[in-house]
């Protein structure tokens, strides 16, 4: 056998012309003629946007494709010298976890919620070894220690819901690596995690890989992660491999236009200087506090301060970014401002009118000045209602005649780059990016002075993300709307925001013009966030290191 994985020895996994099709129906293949291989100790990153077939490829290798939906129709998948596509189910069962294992995207749902995590790790040993109960427990505790979980005894006896996302992902990694498999498939293992946690998990995977000489097939959509961890890269699009090369080649001189576009869409971490705005103030928040009380039986209630003494002002045409990790209170700020939560104390003033102390009828009138765009475009449009009806609902509630509202909806559709025919269709007929455009158009129907965008581009692929960001930029120029832009992504914040507020544990730790906060962060917390941003040593727009 020719050793074509270069320095990595004979490949652990070889995929040759893998094609995966739908079991029923003759639609086009989901994955077509995909070939690659991964050697021991090597990290191969598979990158691509949603629908590129990267996860399907991974699941095909593991034999975990959904039954009666997808199946490999041709090609070979060799694990060592065994063709997995021809292995019997019983043999596949023996191989899983023992010789190849997988870490999943969603640590919050990947563990059985009703079983202690220690038992869940032990199950692998129970299934694949002849170890006794005491030995299994011992090995599990060792493994928990190896992945740097504090107090393994306590973790062993915890249920998944008692652990944080990062801790759960460490548990999943324990399950995957306790038998020291030859191949680890990691399917977007850090996408659902905060940047600092992401960095820790990536470091852990690297550490375990070096310890066990594991071949790692790492699936991601994040070029930053690729820049940090990959040895070689496979770029996929629409089920096909676009390009395979080593990391340097891909990042410096991609040969394919699609790869080029994908890489150059990654926003820079360094914001461009922007002119300070001297427009009117449309939203001001003073001394905002929000505490959540958790009632407990026969004990005093515990309090969580989600937002503490927050002040901010948003000007016309301004895009103000609120950045922070999950649990920092940034979404609570948004919810208080739009009136989905009642602040514990503090003043919110919209276009000169105070929200606190206003009667409910007055509040209703004030609400039209402030509109929201949500994170998940797949869930924020009513699937059973045509887009047009969703669009005009707000306006007609405020008394605009239906026809006039429809007229405005048509104008807005054009503004966000969709045809007016879209109004007569249902949400499922649109892609994620198109839906988010519709959500933005809907938010603009009432001509708001303030638009609150809560992680509005986080669920979108980079290329689509870039288009939506451009759209928001254009809209604030044309309509003068002030945008409160909430994001966990420093790159996105750097790309679009005029000023940035960094939040941690309910408090603002640093704020100022974007170029100061991100260009020369002063607070330790901001610096930490900045350090953890994946791929910060690479300038993707210019295909060179920073």
């Amino acid at each position: 056998m020719i050793d074509d994985a270069g320095t990595y020895g004979s490949p652990v996994i070889r995929v040759r012309d893998l094609t995966v099709g739908l079991t029923h129906g003759d639609q086009k293949n989901v994955v077509e003629n995909v070939s690659f291989e991964v050697g021991p100790g090597e990290t191969l990153c598979v990158v691509g946007e949603s629908g590129s077939g990267k996860s399907v490829t991974a699941f095909s290798i593991m034999g975990l494709l959904q039954k009666n939906a997808l199946e490999p129709t041709s090609g070979e998948v060799f694990l060592g010298d065994e063709n997995l596509l021809q292995a019997r189910p019983e043999r596949m069962r023996q191989l899983r976890s023992a010789r190849m294992s997988m870490v999943f995207q969603e640590p919050m749902t990947a563990l059985n919620p009703v079983e202690k995590v220690g038992k869940q790790i032990e199950e692998v040993l129970l299934l694949h070894s002849k170890m006794g109960a005491a030995a299994r427990r011992q090995r599990t505790l060792e493994m928990l220690d190896t992945v740097h979980l504090p107090d393994p005894q306590r973790i062993y006896d915890s249920f998944p819901h008692q652990l944080s996302g990062g801790q759960r992902q460490r548990v999943v990694i324990c399950i995957a690596l306790i038998l020291e498999p030859d191949l680890l498939i990691a399917d977007e293992p850090t996408t659902a995690l905060d940047v600092t946690t992401q960095q820790q998990i990536l470091t852990l995977i690297r550490e375990m890989q070096e310890r066990q000489n594991t071949a790692v097939l790492f699936i991601t959509h994040d070029m930053g992660v690729v820049a940090d961890i990959a040895d070689r890269v496979v770029v996929m699009r629409d089920g096909n491999v676009v390009e395979v090369a080593d990391k340097e080649t891909i990042l410096r001189s991609p040969s394919h236009d699609y790869t080029r576009m994908l890489i150059s869409s990654v926003p820079s971490l360094v914001p461009e200087p922007r002119q300070p705005l001297h427009t009117e103030t449309v939203l001001s928040v003073a001394g905002l506090n929000k505490t959540f009380q958790k009632k407990r039986f026969l004990r005093s209630a515990s309090e969580i301060q989600a937002v503490a003494d927050l002040n901010l002002t948003l000007r016309q045409k301004e895009i103000l970014g609120v950045v922070g990790q999950s649990g920092s209170g940034k979404s609570t700020v948004a919810r208080c401002i739009v009136g989905l939560e009642e602040p514990t104390s503090g003043d919110i003033t919209i276009c000169g009118d105070r929200l606190q102390g206003a009667r409910s009828a007055e509040r209703r009138q004030m609400r039209r000045h402030i509109q929201m765009v949500f994170q998940d475009p797949y869930r924020s449009l009513n699937p059973r209602v045509k887009v047009g009806r969703s669009m005009v609902e707000g306006s007609t509630n405020f008394g605009t005649p239906h026809d006039a509202a429809m007229g405005r909806a048509e104008e807005l559709m054009e503004l966000v780059g969709l045809s007016t025919a879209a109004l007569d269709r249902y949400p499922h007929q649109f892609s994620g990016g198109q839906r988010q455009r519709i959500c933005i158009a809907r938010a603009l129907m009432l001509e708001p002075a303030v638009l609150v965008a809560d992680e509005a581009v986080s669920a979108l692929d980079v290329s689509v993300q870039e288009q939506v960001l451009e759209l928001l930029d254009e809209i604030r120029e044309r309509t003068g709307v002030g945008i409160l832009f909430i994001t966990h992504d420093l790159r996105v914040a750097a790309r679009i925001c005029d000023s940035i507020f960094v939040m941690n544990q309910g408090r603002i730790v640093e704020h100022g013009p974007a170029e100061h906060v991100l260009g020369r962060p002063e607070e330790e917390y901001t610096q930490k966030l900045f350090e953890a941003a994946p791929g910060r040593h690479w300038d993707f727009r210019n295909f060179c290191p920073v």
Binding site: R93, A110, P113, V114, E123, V172
Partner: protein, 313 residues
């Protein structure tokens, strides 16, 4: 765990009080004078007044309510207007057959329906699944009295394996007791098996789509292990809920089944008391059923926390 149980038990108390008051009010508001019924058509006004007085029916309504609540607490549910026997004794005499029927039905339901549901879910779309679903439609659509008479026709009349009707307490021998219980239990279980099997099937199917099932498959777990160890416990909450509701709704089924199989249980006592407008007995029975219902809900709520560690109120 313990504070939660304590809290749930305490919160059941006000519910019980409200139930007691509502039951009292309901019967006073329905038309029909029990004294007149008791006295018969030929009674004079004087006789009626006398009967009312002896029963306390002439007291102001609030006084009657206070007496009623006080008596419940001391375990006194009054005496039957017709027979003069204490209600608690009447209930005690008749509770045996009903309890046997209910416990038998629940046990058979759990033992048959849950495995049926698991098998159907594990073989989703296969012919075993279709058989289970077909049986479940049948169980739903055939009324208890039809099932009951069909069973009697085959097993008692044609085959002569089992007695047609009647009841023997277990004190007169376990075999005659069970012999007379088999058919009523089977007749009554049909609906519940259908219901619980369906819910088990659908809950497991839903759980099988969860991410952690994929994790279990990635571990190399067998299909059987995934169903029994990972899916079933996660599907337990809806299954326990439906079994709880089933037990509560057994009361209706018990009335019909006891009539078909001539069992001298509480179901028949209900019918007799209602037809005779025997207020104290009706009240006592409704109170008993309501308190049972509250108790079952309590048990179900506590079981939730056993099956799902995330549930803590």
């Amino acid at each position: 765990m313990l504070p939660y149980v304590l809290k749930r038990v305490l919160s059941a108390v006000p519910v019980m009080i409200i139930v007691a008051v509502v039951i009292f009010a309901l019967l006073r508001l329905t038309p029909g004078d029990p004294a007149a019924i008791l006295a018969g058509n030929d009674a004079t006004g004087e006789q009626l007044a006398q009967i009312r007085e002896s029963l306390g029916l002439d007291e102001p309504i609030l006084v009657q309510l206070a007496t009623w609540c006080k008596n419940i607490i001391s375990g006194d549910l009054g005496v039957s207007l017709l027979s003069g026997v204490p209600v608690t004794k009447m209930i005690a005499d008749r509770v045996g057959p009903t309890l046997a029927l209910a416990v038998g039905t629940i046990s058979v339901t759990i033992l048959v329906a849950i495995p049926m549901g698991i098998v159907a879910a594990g073989r989703l779309g296969g012919y075993l699944d279709r058989i289970v679903m077909a049986l479940s439609v049948l169980g739903f659509s055939v009324p208890i009295f039809v099932t009951g008479y069909v069973l009697i026709y085959f097993f008692s009349l044609k085959l002569g394996w089992l007695p047609v009707q009647g009841y023997r307490p277990p004190s007169e021998g376990l075999f005659p007791f069970l012999q007379r219980l088999v058919l009523p239990v089977l007749a009554l279980s049909g609906v519940y098996i259908a219901l619980v099997a369906r819910i088990t099937r659908s809950s497991i199917i839903e759980v099988l789509g969860e991410d952690y099932i994929r994790t279990a498959r990635a571990k190399g777990a067998t299909g059987r292990r995934i169903l029994l160890r990972h899916a079933l416990r996660n599907a337990a909450v809806p299954i326990v809920t439906i079994i709880g509701i089933g037990i509560a709704s057994l009361i209706t089924g018990v009335v019909v089944t006891e009539s078909v199989f001539n069992l001298p249980g509480l179901g028949r006592l209900v019918v007799e008391a209602v037809l005779a407008r025997d207020y104290p007995v009706i009240q006592g029975l409704i109170l008993l059923f309501s308190f049972t219902y509250i108790l079952i809900n309590l048990v179900v709520d506590i079981l939730y926390t056993v099956f799902d560690p995330r549930i803590r109120y």
